[in-house]
Symmetry: D2
């Protein structure tokens, strides 16, 4: 019986990396992102710390690309893989712009990560989460949300549509796959995540931006919940955030 | 100064027709649906009752088709049209199916009415709602939602994603265009609508299905609300509905 | 068969008065407030405009006082009264204060209008809303809510608890009495109401405060909804309000 | 500097006991319930397992009783106590009954645990959570909610009002005390908890009732979240629960 694996889509700096490192403490992790270069340092880092990691460049918005990725995973881990955890952390494109200046194509493109991407990722991973109770914890599918999962702000219609949509899918999958023993969760990340890229965003008071490690620990906690006590939705925000 | 008009997308039997008839009591109405045949009886009916109606076959999921429709409207009513009310009532395709049996293409197609359609319709009509206070009531853009606007049920991920998404857009547009004097509303229709097609659905106890005329009257009420007292979201359900 | 009446609790300046005037166009109205003096001008005004109005000083937080009021109503209109509409518009006391400075007694007192008051009012009026379809419209019980019905803000725990609580009651009553033909609604008034008292609050840009007449018209619309198309919850806010 | 303590109100069988045992792994725990007898077995159990526990019979709905309890705590642990975690788990009385059969007194009594009790408990414990960062984790105040925190069901108006109200308080306190470094959370327990008392409720399929240990582990996880990544609200339900 092969060891269960964890698959993280959107394994970029910030949440994705932190989640990958956290789950790598218990599982071989497969990391998906657009480019191999962005994956290599994280793979190296996990490997050097005694974990097992594999990076596969994938365009999750393409069912074909996601299918090839699953083939590569099975080539490595064997056809009978079990997915202990699948984390969908691919960012929706964020662009605040007056509605009447948005172009149809650009609008649709902003939706693809949540619509095509979340769909492809869930379809590719769920079959390997249904094959029994091999793991220590119930298999877990987690979607990363945002403030815009609950509120459509001015100028952010595409982003909000994307995040509301992912939340709809998470609920629908939780209601379908929960009774089959799969734990489907949705996390509303309500605040700026503390990364290199966000150094200049907002204030830099201590703890005013979300430490990705905090998110990773909460995702791990969700994964460890027993079948009788699943959390479907959590919010995560800095102590000082207005909400 | 030309008389303001009302545009109803999704002018099929049920809600669309009832809304068209109601708004035709005060405005010339332009009715959009896929086929001319489905529009003709409604146009005739409104005309015979003393109203003014024009049916334009339109694929609202195509920006080009929606653009042509706006050209036809301006050909008829003049280039300086004012839109008093725009109602987006195009149905999202509804298909309850196990998630793992859904095909990517079919999944995306179910989302098009809410994503491309709602986007194209709002972009095409809003510019003609911003040009001042010519009308008796604030210009009004209403989106028709459903139970699935708030809840992602098992087997309905595409439908829920579509309806959550439209709600996100309605909120975002309300926050952007409200301060410009445009009233953007979203109606959660929570129950079966009483039409020919739904005769065999559920129970036929009196008033257990929603009379489309009731929806039309509520949409009209939303339209008449003054600038200081806009309702963004209402729910509408039969007295006997479980919720 | 006696003519159905409307009862408005909290018939002070602002929403209460506007609702009373609106419903007085169709029904004899009974107006409740703490003091006779505050009721007299409104009773006179409605009477002079051809309506029928009766003011009864009532402490709705006292079941005994509410019972006496119902006796007075039956003395005037006969024992077989029918209540077409009952509007609970009694303000919760509003006091923004650091939590640790709040006194237990003061905290409880802030809750009484919503807890005891809403309970007493609903218990006293619902029996007269169940006795059949004598009226033109389904009998309607409306609760006035606020921004704090949905959001517990800092320093407003008592106010929010009061408004969340009223909303809970409105939902519970809607689910119990809806199937019996009584329309129970809850309105979230999200903004400052334009009255003498609020002249100095916030900005005085046109339409930036809610015209009570707008609220009254929406309450009347709720009352006219048919049994197959009840709205349970609406929000009402100025076009320029941030939310 | 005295060791921080945890205080659990509502330390009965089920959630309260499990939470007490979990927090006793790290802190001396103070357990509150109406009667000493109900506390003794839990105190013994924790003590025999190497923990430190003290049971104090308390009527949390009385500010005086809650004050005496704090005096006893300071007598034992010293006047400079630090509260690492305060868990409010006192049950609201649950009684499903037609609204018109409810008595005013009984209605109010059902509300007291959430209104007076939650208020007294938060006022008594928060001052000892504000005094700095002595503990390993941010001080945490958790309120136990229920399905009825979000939905007012027929016949449950008092219960729903109680639970909506507690949720309002939790939000208000989170927004006031979060910026001061106190983590305030609210947990929606959506399902039957697996205890002796609920053996005959619903079905007894494996994991169909919530294991209190699962709740305790999630409460502990909330407590360990860093200041930059607080969760305010989680839901907890069995995998097979309809929602």
């Amino acid at each position: 019986m092969p060891k269960p694996i964890a698959i993280i889509a959107g394994a970029g700096p910030g949440t994705g990396s932190a989640v990958a490192r956290r789950f790598a403490l218990s599982y071989p992790v497969v990391l998906l992102a657009r480019s191999q270069q962005s994956l290599d340092p994280l793979v190296d880092d996990i490997t050097q710390n005694g974990g097992s990691a594999m990076g596969i460049p994938t365009d999750v918005t393409s069912a074909a690309s996601m299918g090839l990725t699953m083939d590569k995973i099975k080539n490595k881990f064997g056809p009978e893989i079990t997915v202990a955890a699948a984390i969908y952390n691919v960012a929706s494109k964020f662009s605040m712009k007056p509605f009447l200046e948005q172009k149809p194509r650009e609008f649709i493109e902003m939706l693809e990560p949540s619509i095509k991407g979340a769909f492809n990722f869930a379809q590719a991973t769920l079959p390997y989460m249904l094959n029994g109770d091999q793991g220590q914890y119930p298999p877990t599918l987690i979607f990363t949300g945002a403030t815009a999962s609950l509120k459509g702000s001015s100028g952010l219609s595409a982003f909000a549509m994307s995040k509301f949509g992912t939340r709809a899918m998470a609920q629908s999958l939780a209601r379908e796959f929960g009774p089959k023993g799969v734990h489907v969760s949705h996390a509303i990340i309500d605040g700026i995540i503390d990364t290199e890229k966000t150094k200049s965003f907002g204030q830099n008071a201590p703890d005013a931006k979300i430490d990705p490690q905090g998110i990773a620990d909460s995702y791990w906690h969700l994964h460890t919940q027993p079948k009788s006590a699943f959390t479907h939705e959590i919010d995560i925000r800095p102590f000082s955030e207005k909400w």
